[in-house]
């Protein structure tokens, strides 16, 4: 039994299917996440695969700040992700609302809607930082 559990933790750490959802931001984080998938950075060597379907997702990368319309969309998406899941907020907007925090349609960072596990600061964070952020969240799967 112990071995099965050990193997499960190992599998979860080695196989992360990710989805990124860009909210009200400038899109810069989104393209850096795309860049992290490509030859220079190659997320797949860590077993991280881009799925784009919440039902297949283990790790959700949220970029951008929450506004009044996408709040519900984000909540719906999270509800469709089967546990255990990891939620990573990428970029300053997703952390606090960033430069747009005072704008009339912005509620704030992603933590206003969901419980974020890892925060990756930067405007936008470099792909290395995104990779580091995802991998540093893996300890959540130990439990």
């Amino acid at each position: 039994m112990g071995m099965m559990k050990h193997l499960m933790v190992r599998s979860r750490r080695r196989s992360l299917w990710m989805m990124h959802f860009c909210l009200g931001g400038c899109n810069g984080c989104s393209i850096e996440i795309m860049a992290a998938l490509t030859p220079m950075y190659d997320l797949e060597r860590f077993g991280i695969l881009n799925t784009g379907n919440p039902k297949h997702t283990d790790v959700l990368l949220v970029g951008g700040s929450v506004n009044h319309r996408n709040r519900r969309t984000l909540k719906n998406l999270i509800d469709q992700i089967p546990a255990p899941r990891l939620i990573v907020a990428v970029g300053t907007c997703a952390l606090t609302g960033g430069i747009f925090n005072e704008a009339y349609n912005i509620i704030g960072g992603a933590n206003r809607v969901v419980d974020v596990d890892v925060y990756v600061p930067g405007c936008p964070p470099k792909p290395e930082a995104v990779i580091d952020g995802i991998l540093s969240g893996l300890d959540k799967f130990e439990q």
Partner: protein
């Protein structure tokens, strides 16, 4: 009935997914290298599968897990049947049923992506099923046997007489394994119009079951390929070459549309197979 004989299919049922998973892992690694990336470890598909079994089971309705299980069962039974040396015609019906369950599972949910994927899966079956039956007919024509065990014992290089048929079978493999340019019903690559089509609504353990079924199907099709050069080293070479060809084709093409497949592939493919068959007969 000799009980000892049952060891062979039992071993095949255990070995086939390992084989199918390894093929998937090698495919991902080589594809990554072709794209200039480092790529995941070869064992990646097994990590993925085991992880999926550990996710929360979220089924859309009661039928979905049932159809996923039936698909897995059908695929495993086909492999067992072939390993048992069973009749090729029965195998043909078994594979048809297997696909049927996949389509049913995809159309029992309300998601339009899944349903559209199911429709396309059916169209694909329409394209490759006639070829499969012609392949079996050609094997019979050449060896005089319907049962796989007999065909294998007969030996010989079937490939020498059936190059066109083998080409058709290769295209069937491209379609069945959802490689570009025919990856429109449930592509493993996310960025496509249907968000994984047939598999959209499956999650966690049910997705793992479908994935496992897919590995059985991979193994089954490659076992059929092996019949074309029935000696151990021969079939090993043939299967390796076929897999390499699949990976290259996958990386050389963009996805085309099902309309293109119906217009350009649907009739020519069985036509080509038939041509080869007629050539065998005269």
């Amino acid at each position: 009935m000799n009980l000892a004989k049952l060891w062979v299919p039992a071993a095949a049922v255990i070995a086939a997914p390992v084989f199918g998973g390894l093929i998937a892992g090698i495919d991902r690694k080589i594809s990554a290298r072709l794209q200039g990336r480092y790529g995941p470890p070869i064992l990646q598909p097994f990590y993925d599968l085991y992880k999926l079994f550990g996710k929360d089971p979220l089924a859309v309705n009661r039928w979905q897990p049932f159809f996923a299980a039936m698909y897995l069962f059908g695929a495993a039974a086909s492999v067992a049947w072939l390993a048992l040396g069973g009749d090729l015609l029965v195998l043909f019906f078994l594979t048809t049923f297997t696909v049927g369950f996949l389509v049913l599972g995809a159309s029992c949910v309300p998601s339009p992506f899944s349903r559209a994927g199911a429709g396309r899966e059916l169209l694909q079956a329409l394209v490759y099923e006639p070829v499969l039956i012609l392949v079996f007919a050609a094997i019979f024509q050449q060896t005089g046997r319907w049962d796989a065990a007999g065909v294998w014992r007969q030996g010989g290089v079937l490939l020498a007489q059936t190059p066109l048929l083998y080409l058709c079978l290769f295209l069937v493999l491209v379609i069945k394994l959802r490689k570009s340019p025919f990856d429109f019903s449930a592509s493993p690559h996310a960025h496509q119009e249907l968000v994984r089509g047939v598999l959209t609504e499956y999650s966690g353990p049910f997705l793992a079951m479908v994935e496992l079924g897919h590995w059985y199907e991979t193994a089954l099709l490659l076992m059929i390929c092996a019949l074309f050069w029935s000696s151990v080293p021969g079939s090993a070479i043939l299967v390796a070459a076929t897999v390499a060809g699949l990976i290259f084709v996958d990386n050389l093409f963009p996805r085309l549309t099902w309309r293109w497949m119906m217009a350009r592939i649907w009739l020519p493919l069985p036509g080509l197979a038939l041509l080869n068959l007629i050539w065998l007969m005269v």
